[in-house]
């Protein structure tokens, strides 16, 4: 474990990414302490520039504090990113395992089914699902999860296929262990590294999809999110650049941080990369 951490942190990508990610996570966790008032509170003077009237990042058209929105928005982005990735992992890993381990007809059927999803553009399907199910935080998580699982399923299937032909798996089967036990206790633990890396990337993609949905007005109207803030500030960008720039920077930072962490994880989990 310490070996792993050392490799991870020795990469500049890992160190920088993790620092940024910790910052964003801290923002999300401590949001109610940093800005105890609701980010929807219309207490400031509308169109205040950054730094004016005690508002670090300025105010929006209704006098809402952009900084409070950015800090509270971190919670929504991170919750949606993680929850929808878990949804995608649940679907993708399950299907991938079944396909990879069972092989034959089952494998063929699942792969075809996955391909159907892969041919539909992600974002279009997400819009459709959210519009049909009416936008709320639950339906957004579900929709993003439903459009994000196919790459995970394919990767899992490939990993499981290659691992399940190894001797230790055959040994476990010869001992009479049940299929479930073989898969969960022997195959998956040895196939999981690339899935973790792809999972991290999926979190970043999910945050972007959520931002795009909110930008289009398909976000949960009861939660302040970065995409919503950009969407609301978009029309006044000529008068007030700060309304869209700061939440935009927040999205950029978070997505870069997660991608860097993913990259470093990939290196750290890859046994072929020298640890010298």
């Amino acid at each position: 474990m310490s070996q792993f951490l050392k490799t991870f942190l020795r990469r500049p990508a890992g160190a920088v990414g993790l620092t940024l990610l910790v910052l964003v996570a801290a923002m999300a966790i401590f949001a109610p302490l940093i800005y105890p008032a609701s980010p929807w509170e219309m207490s400031g003077i509308p169109f205040s520039r950054p730094g004016e009237n005690g508002m670090l990042m300025g105010a929006d058209t209704l006098g809402r504090d952009i900084a409070a929105g950015v800090v509270h928005g971190a919670r929504v982005s991170i919750v949606i990113g993680i929850a929808s990735t878990l949804t995608a992992l649940l679907i993708g890993v399950t299907l991938g395992c079944i396909a990879g381990y069972a092989g034959g007809m089952v494998d063929g059927a699942i792969v075809r089914f996955t391909e159907i999803f892969q041919t539909i553009p992600n974002f279009v399907l997400a819009i459709l699902l959210v519009a049909i199910l009416t936008p709320s935080i639950g339906t957004i998580i579900l929709a993003i999860g439903l459009v994000s699982w196919p790459p995970l399923a394919r990767l899992t299937r490939a990993q499981v296929r290659s691992v399940s032909t190894r001797e230790f798996v055959q040994a476990a089967r010869c001992q009479g262990q049940s299929t479930l036990s073989v898969v969960v206790r022997h195959v998956l633990p040895n196939a999981v590294s690339p899935i973790i890396v792809l999972g991290a990337m999926t979190v970043a993609a999910a945050i972007l999809i959520e931002a795009a949905l909110s930008f289009m007005g398909l976000g949960d109207p009861n939660f302040m999110s970065w995409g919503y803030m950009i969407g609301a500030g978009r029309t006044v960008i000529r008068q007030a650049w700060w309304m869209s720039v700061f939440p935009g920077l927040a999205i950029l930072t978070t997505v870069i941080a997660i991608n860097l962490v993913g990259e470093a994880l990939n290196d750290a989990l890859n046994p072929r990369i020298s640890r010298a």
């Binding site: 058209t61 209704l62 109207p221 009861n222 006044v236």
Partner: protein
């Protein structure tokens, strides 16, 4: 040198330099204003058609009203003024309306305009196609042509605002010789609309522009003052602002310009702004509770909500001053407005007292009641109104959950009474009997129909007052009845009125006499000209 001259010079110079054929570029510059005075106006969104009798959406009326006309138009105080009717008489019993028509008016194909066209339009064509016109002309016992240029309408019972039914958008007169006995919706003439108006249809390039040219045979001497009108369709609001700013377009109306951008554009040296010209429509914005549900059926709760709302915040910060705080069910620009009504000032303590009185005590989280709010999916302003409502109610311990939907979903939910609260905005159509009564009288509680009494308000006294005022002929008597009904409504708050929307019209300040009537840009622009 004027800017337009300068542009012309610059363009000819460029063209001459580039090609040596100066006129080549002039022909290609479809949007540049010609020397005689053409107008490029913005139009949002693109209308589905220009045939006014078939379609009465806002952009259809803006463009179509230059082609089609009504018998009457209305000044800023909503008094009738001549259009296709030169003069008119009303009998003392208020039942017989006689119109004398313009003798010189002709259809754009050269056929003379006669009383038969009016009878056909009001008795046959509009009865089938135009819901609002149907409501008005159903009241007629008979519609007859007394001679070629005289029409008589006889009502079954008096209806005070009957003259208002003859405005161009409410009753566009159509050519009998083209439409009689045909399938109106599929008549080939729909692609090349023929009216009596000061401008004739020339060309429509879908997605780009509609081109109208001056009618040389218009029945008023010296009109129209413009040689042509281009309606440019620009889907993006920021691009529309730029078009006005650069002088590429010379007129915007209704929602063409985003509210927060209006003051900036109005301050430019070449643009002028007016909020006149919407008196006939007078849109009123309100928060609408569903009175069939708890706790909205309790007057104390509605009063508490009203005390928690700050109308000036809505007017200043959400509508960017393109509005005025409303006091009750009538806009101050609508006839028979009554200003002497109870005022619900922003007062959190009064709200708390009312909620306490209802027994709605704060729970452990400080919340007294939980309600949901259906956000109107029609753009920024509506989203901001919903967000403001949630914050304003939170101050009084009412937790509001916003519900998003699409336009069809909103219409479905509101018309089938499946909502807690929402916003609504209705035009008053120049008379309380035409545009106000429909929201409060119990006979208009019609499931499945939008813009009816969707909140579900019932009060026999209000029903009686509206009914009597609609048939009363003496204006003083109508005022007395409407004042009384306004006082009752403001005391009972069937809905929470917040603002009279005041749409801005921005236009090039070299233009004069553009907005000359209470129907503004929905008028025919016959008088508009360059100074």
């Amino acid at each position: 040198m004027k800017r337009r001259d300068f542009n012309t010079l610059l363009l000819s110079g460029l063209a001459a330099g580039a090609s040596g054929v100066p006129n080549l570029w002039h022909d290609g510059m479809a949007y540049a204003q010609t020397e005689g005075g053409g107008l490029t106006a913005l139009l949002t969104p693109e209308p589905p058609m220009l045939v006014l009798p078939l379609n009465q959406q806002q952009p259809t009326i803006v463009a179509g009203s230059k082609i089609y006309e009504g018998l009457l138009n209305f000044d800023f105080d909503l008094n009738p003024i001549p259009q296709l009717a030169e003069s008119w008489e009303i009998s003392d019993d208020g039942l017989t309306y006689t119109f004398h028509l313009q003798q010189a008016a002709r259809w754009h194909d050269g056929t003379p305009f006669t009383a038969d066209d009016v009878v056909f339009s009001c008795q046959v064509m509009l009865m089938e196609l135009h819901p609002r016109a149907r409501g008005n002309f159903e009241r007629c016992e008979s519609i007859t042509a007394l001679d070629a240029h005289t029409v008589q309408f006889v009502l079954k019972e008096p209806f005070a605002p009957f003259l208002k039914a003859f405005e161009a958008g409410s009753a566009p007169i159509s050519p009998k010789h083209i439409y009689e006995g045909t399938d109106y919706a599929n008549n080939p003439a729909n692609d090349h609309p023929i009216g009596t108006g000061p401008f004739m249809f020339k060309e429509w390039v879908r997605g780009s522009h509609i081109h109208l040219v001056a009618n040389p045979d218009y029945y008023v001497d010296g009109q129209p003052g413009l040689t042509e009108i281009f309606f440019r369709i620009v889907p993006d609001a920021a691009s529309r602002s730029v078009a006005l700013e650069s002088g590429e377009a010379q007129l915007s109306s209704w929602n063409d310009v985003e509210m927060f951008d209006v003051d900036r554009l109005a301050s430019l040296p070449h643009l002028a702004k007016t909020s006149q010209g919407y008196e006939f429509f007078s849109p009123l914005l309100w928060y609408e509770p569903n009175l069939r549900r708890e706790p909205f059926n309790d007057l104390r709760f509605r009063k508490a909500m009203m005390h928690l709302l700050d109308k000036s915040f809505i007017v200043e910060r959400i509508m960017f001053n393109q509005a005025k705080a409303a006091t009750g069910p009538l806009c101050s620009t609508t006839p028979f407005y009554e200003g002497d009504v109870p005022d619900y000032a922003k007062d959190a303590e009064a709200a708390a007292a009312l909620l306490d009185d209802m027994g709605l005590a704060p729970d452990a989280d400080g919340i007294r009641a939980r309600i949901s709010f259906l956000v109107v999916p029609a753009g920024e302003m509506w989203t901001r109104l919903a967000e403001y409502f949630r914050q304003a109610m939170a101050a009084g311990g009412i937790e509001v959950t916003l519900v998003s939907t699409d336009m069809a979903g909103w219409g479905q939910a509101v018309s089938n009474w499946d909502f807690d609260m929402t916003n609504n905005l209705l035009y008053q159509n120049a008379d309380p009997a035409l545009g106000v009564a429909r929201s409060y009288i119990s006979s208009n509680i019609r499931q499945g129909v939008l813009f009816t009494n969707t909140e579900g308000y019932e009060n026999p006294e209000v029903d009686r007052l509206f009914a009597e005022a609609a048939v009363a002929l003496d204006p003083a008597e109508r005022q007395r009845l409407y004042s009384e009904v306004q006082k009752i409504l403001v005391a009972e708050l069937p809905v929470l009125w917040v603002a009279e929307q005041q749409y801005p019209t921005l236009y090039d300040n070299r233009l004069t006499d553009v907005i000359v009537t209470g129907t503004g840009v929905n008028g025919n622009f016959a008088t508009a000209r360059y100074a």
